[in-house]
């Protein structure tokens, strides 16, 4: 219920501005699930869908929220000068419980974007909130912008 209210608030605060087919978040699909796709294709397909993230702008410049079945993330980004590149930091949560931090660089390529970075993930969930062993993984994000009127910063 709390997460529903939070997501509704976010949705009302700003429009959807991006969709990530591959999310640069914890438990990266490419690293964890893709290698098993041949052995368990149904699970791999479901988990691919679970990590598809919808990005929402917030009133504060540079601040945005990404929401997927798996992760809800607050992120902040700033452009690097006039380059089509921005640095990004994010606080991924699971049902709004913070589970780690991530940082990366995002490259805008027309309507699409590519994000490379690293994620420190301690795990945890509301049913078992204490973090486990820290796991550092590379991240790769890939998606497209849905709002072409948004000319910059690269992601709000």
């Amino acid at each position: 219920m709390t997460s529903t209210v939070a997501l509704l608030s976010v949705a009302l605060a700003g429009p959807v501005n991006r969709v990530d087919l591959l999310s640069a978040g914890p438990q990266p699909w490419l690293l964890d699930e893709a290698p098993l796709a041949a052995a368990r294709p149904g699970t791999a397909a479901l988990r691919l869908a679970e990590q598809v993230s919808v990005g929402w702008t917030l009133p504060l410049e540079g601040l945005a929220v990404g929401t997927s079945w798996r992760v809800q993330e607050v992120r902040y980004s700033r452009d690097l000068g006039d380059l089509p590149v921005a640095w990004v930091v994010g606080l991924p949560t699971r049902l709004l419980l913070p589970v780690g931090v991530r940082a990366g660089l995002r490259l805008r390529l027309g309507d699409t974007h590519l994000e490379l970075g690293a994620m420190a993930d301690g795990g945890g969930s509301w049913v078992a909130p204490l973090p486990g062993p820290l796991r550092v993984t590379p991240t790769l994000g890939l998606g497209w912008w849905t709002d072409r009127r948004d000319k910059g910063p690269a992601d709000r």
């Binding site: 914890p26 438990q27 690293l31 964890d32 290698p35 098993l36 041949a38 052995a39 368990r40 149904g42 699970t43 479901l46 988990r47 679970e50 079945w69 798996r70 699971r94 049902l95 419980l97 993930d121 795990g123 969930s125 509301w126 049913v127 078992a128 486990g132 062993p133 796991r135």
Partner: protein, 254 residues
């Protein structure tokens, strides 16, 4: 019996259920499986045959069970033998024990004896013969695991208990339950090791179709992990460490 249970394997897994007169038999649920069991006359089962409504003698007199036809096992036949008992298994194990035996207690709410009765009948019979092999016990539900732990503690024995993940539904769709558990766990609303902790189990028997890498990473120190439904060639087996094991589709443990 030795051949049908693959006792030549290094380790084996067998399903156990209780008859009405509390005899542990090697059946994988509360009913005889109509695909593998027949009446003594060779007829297909027309109605459900509940173990809780039948004594062992009723099963012996009325039914024969086997396995579905499998090209890998030319001798496999439906309805070929009387229902095997746990006593019969332990007798076999005394003569030729594998390194480890996994007893899968198929206790099911509402159609089983109480977990405490289930635990007592299985463990006391096992300890009576006490075959020289490592015993692990797996169960779907916390109350069954707790009953095993309590019985073992009362007897001053140590039994390794494992909780199956995801829990299989008593009589409904296993695929549906697996999907629901996976969605809940992936969203952060369920956690296998939390379930193990609640059940007071020693470890987890995880379905290879569902196990996440993060579940392996977040394993508590000393907890045992088995992978079910795969093989040592399954890519998820690469996440396991040397003390873990894989339960393959034939009931062998690798």
């Amino acid at each position: 019996m030795a051949a049908s249970l693959h006792l030549d394997e290094a380790a084996i897994e067998v399903d156990v259920f209780l008859t009405n007169d509390r005899v542990p038999v090697l059946i994988d649920g509360p009913r005889l499986d109509p695909l593998t069991c027949r009446t003594v006359d060779g007829a297909e089962l027309e109605d459900d045959v509940w173990l809780l409504q039948n004594d062992l003698v009723d099963l012996d007199d009325g039914y024969r069970c086997g396995v579905e036809a499998d090209p890998a096992w030319p001798d496999a036949r439906v309805g070929s033998a009387p229902v095997h008992t746990l006593d019969g298994l332990t007798e076999q194990l005394l003569a030729d024990p594998p390194a480890a035996v996994l007893l899968d207690l198929r206790w099911t709410p509402n159609v089983s004896h109480a977990p405490e009765v289930f635990a007592a009948e299985v463990l006391e019979r096992w300890w009576r013969d006490d075959p020289p092999t490592t015993l692990r016990v797996v169960a779907d539900r916390p109350q069954m695991v707790q009953a095993i732990e309590d019985r073992a503690a009362a007897a001053g024995r140590d039994v390794v208990t494992l909780l199956r993940w995801p829990t299989e539904p008593p009589l409904g769709s296993a695929a549906g339950a697996r999907l629901a558990t996976m969605l809940a766990a992936d969203a952060g609303a369920a956690d296998p090791w939390h379930a193990v902790s609640i059940a007071r189990a020693d470890g987890l028997l995880a379905d290879a179709r569902v196990l996440r890498r993060s579940d392996v990473v977040s394993r508590p120190a000393g907890a045992e992990l088995g992978l079910q439904g795969g093989s040592s060639e399954h890519p998820a087996a690469a996440w396991l460490d040397s003390t873990d094991w894989v339960l393959d589709a034939t009931g062998g443990v690798q």
